[in-house]
């Protein structure tokens, strides 16, 4: 009697073992293909891009800017840009508005800090206007309305004037947050 139940028990154990090993091996096989590529797919998130030293880039001559502080749009041509495997040289990477006050120059990124649309300069009202979600900015880049979609003013970046030439450190910043954080 007990012999018989032992036999039954060991049979049941054996079956349990088979089922659990089968499930384990099948699951491993089913998950492996996806798992083998997970590190590669997540690779971009693990690469830190914001910490690299931003190089100085020559934009234009001081003499080209109107002295009354009217913004002028310039292409920013970077000496070297890496896009995955390709290294580009002297390639347009964005645009800035430059305004002049005496010998001081301020550079504003063309991209709206809200969601990255290109901002227009409006001559008639002498201000900046984003045509996507209607954010408006004063000439000094500050937000002009209380309920502006943009959480912060236009992004400025480091500038310097040397021998009449304007240099900037061209940078992009994270959109739609109150603080200016480099991407």
């Amino acid at each position: 009697m007990s012999d018989h139940s032992n036999k039954e028990k060991s049979k049941e154990n054996r079956r349990k073992f088979i089922v659990s090993s089968t499930i384990a091996a099948s699951t491993a096989c089913a998950l492996f293909p996806l798992a083998s590529g997970i590190p590669s797919v997540l690779d971009p998130a693990t690469k830190d891009s914001g910490n690299a030293e931003v190089p100085w880039t020559k934009v234009t001559n001081l003499a080209t800017l109107p002295e009354d502080g009217t913004p002028t749009k310039f292409e920013v041509i970077l000496e070297k840009v890496k896009d995955a495997w390709t290294t580009y040289t002297n390639i347009p990477a964005g645009a800035v508005y430059l305004t002049r006050k005496g010998d001081e120059v301020t550079a504003y990124n063309l991209k709206c800090p809200h969601l990255g649309c290109a901002i227009d300069y409006r001559k008639n009202s002498n201000d900046y206007f984003c045509p996507c979600h209607n954010s408006t900015f004063a000439l000094d880049g500050s937000v002009t309305t209380d309920n502006s979609p943009s959480p912060r003013g236009m992004d400025t970046m480091d500038t310097k004037v040397e021998d009449g030439v304007i240099w900037i450190r061209f940078q992009q910043f994270r959109p739609n947050i109150a603080e200016k954080v480099p991407v």
């Binding site: 096989c29 797919v41 495997w85 290294t87």
Partner: protein, 586 residues
Amino acid sequence: MIKGIMDWVDDRSGIRGLVKEALYEKVPGGARWRYVWGSCLTFVFFTQVVTGTLLWMFYSPSAQTAWESVYYLQYHVAGGWFLRGVHHYMAQAMIVLLVLHLMQVVIDGAYKAPRELNFWFGALMMGVTLALSLTGYLLPWDQKGYWATAVATNLMAEVPLIGPALQKIVVGGAEYGHHTLTRFFALHAGVLPASLVALVVAHIYLFRKHGIHVKEPRPKRDSYFWPDQVLKDAIACSAILLAVVALTIYFRGAPLGPPADPSNEFPARPEWYFLFLFQLLKYVPAFWGAVIIPAFLALWIFLQPFIGKSKGGHQFNVGFWWALIAGSVALTGMAVSEDRANLKHGAAIEEADWQAERVIEIADTQGIPPAGAVTLLRKDSQNQGRRLFAAHCSSCHRYNGHDGRGFPVDEPQSAADLAGFASVEWITDLLNYDHYVSAKYFGGTKFKDGTMARKVLAKYTDDEKKLLPSIAKLLADGANLPYEENLAEDTREELLSLYYNDDLKFEDGRACIECHDIDSEDEGSAPDLTGYGSSEWLTAFIENPEDKRFYGKKNDRMPCYGRDGKLQEKEIAILVDWIRSQAAEF
């Protein structure tokens, strides 16, 4: 709660019934290892679809970005090499499993009625799988894939009537380029896998309809697919997985050769499982290889179920497949052994390995321009130098005994081996009479019997010979070789006085300086050795060895590359840089 959701889903989809039907299929005679191949192939195909889709996130099909994107994945993306490796070796496993599955079906007679249709589906799937291998081989756009696929698509032109048009359609034009890659990629990642999925569904449906073809005698009581057979299947799949992971880790992923370059020849060889076809084409006309033999095989596969029904037909079928496999193995063996015995083939492979390493080194340091990585190799003086040497110098000169690129040279050597030219070691040997008149230096030229050999080097006493290494040091100093250090100023002065004085002289009492100028304004009767082996000296020499500064009228067959426009100034500069760049290997 979970049961509630399951009930809800089951109520609307009938999923439980479906799963039950899938898992509780009867396996007459119990689970057996011989039934695992189909499941293994399904698993391998599933892996290929998943890893292939992941690879898709990195691949860019165009002539300037295909190799580059693969390079980036392989060397600059975390785990990229592993993902590529799994896809690559799994593809090879798939071919092996296909053959095993096929042979299982043939030996067990599972191709016979009522399973004819499924046998043909299987054969079709085999064709699609081979097409997947072929198209995938090209995608990295490296030398290997480029040249081998060119052969495969040229075979396509052998198809009667539509061949040339078919080739153009597949290649996307008359020449290989962007559209070859976009088309091959669409085939490899879209058309072919989709066809295979459809065929797999049909194959499994038909398989379920007729049930397992049971090989008699039955070893055990009948059981069900779950869990007994699934366990065996899962163990076999895990074994394949482990083998693929082991291969991937051992070889550090899939190989990536130098970028495709139509101007840089490479011996086209297909992937190993196509080698038998490659070898066959050495014996039969391309038309046979591309059309007649495949057509015959297709017809034979179609007829096989009917042949199998006749008396002795099954044995004939089995015998035929074994013969086919044996023939393929033999042809593969011949292909491999012929390549092994071919020194030039070995040199070409070695050169390609070198180029692959080189281009990766340059890409890592300089980056890849938009024009693509192939331009890096074309502009690289290391790569161009050896090619120029092979093309213009190696019919007389050698470099480490070969043609500069590593290939053996058919013509006998008739001028000096220039590996390590103008280094201390090279000049020391040159000044040894036995070496001077050997093939490695001037043995193949008329200078073997010249004044320097007969009246100078042959006549040195043992005491004089002891001074020769110092002379070599002095001369090598003038070469300014990048891999040798310059002498200190006072050492140089000391050696120079040795050169000028009478310690080393002809039997008639003259010193080196009497014939060979060094740092002096006079014109001797032999080549001026001021700055011997330097960039300036070597450039001027290659431009015009007949100049009175060098051999003058005594020049023995050395062409005036610059004077006669045989090489451009830029090419001579590359050649000079390359000859001077590294020490000899022996």
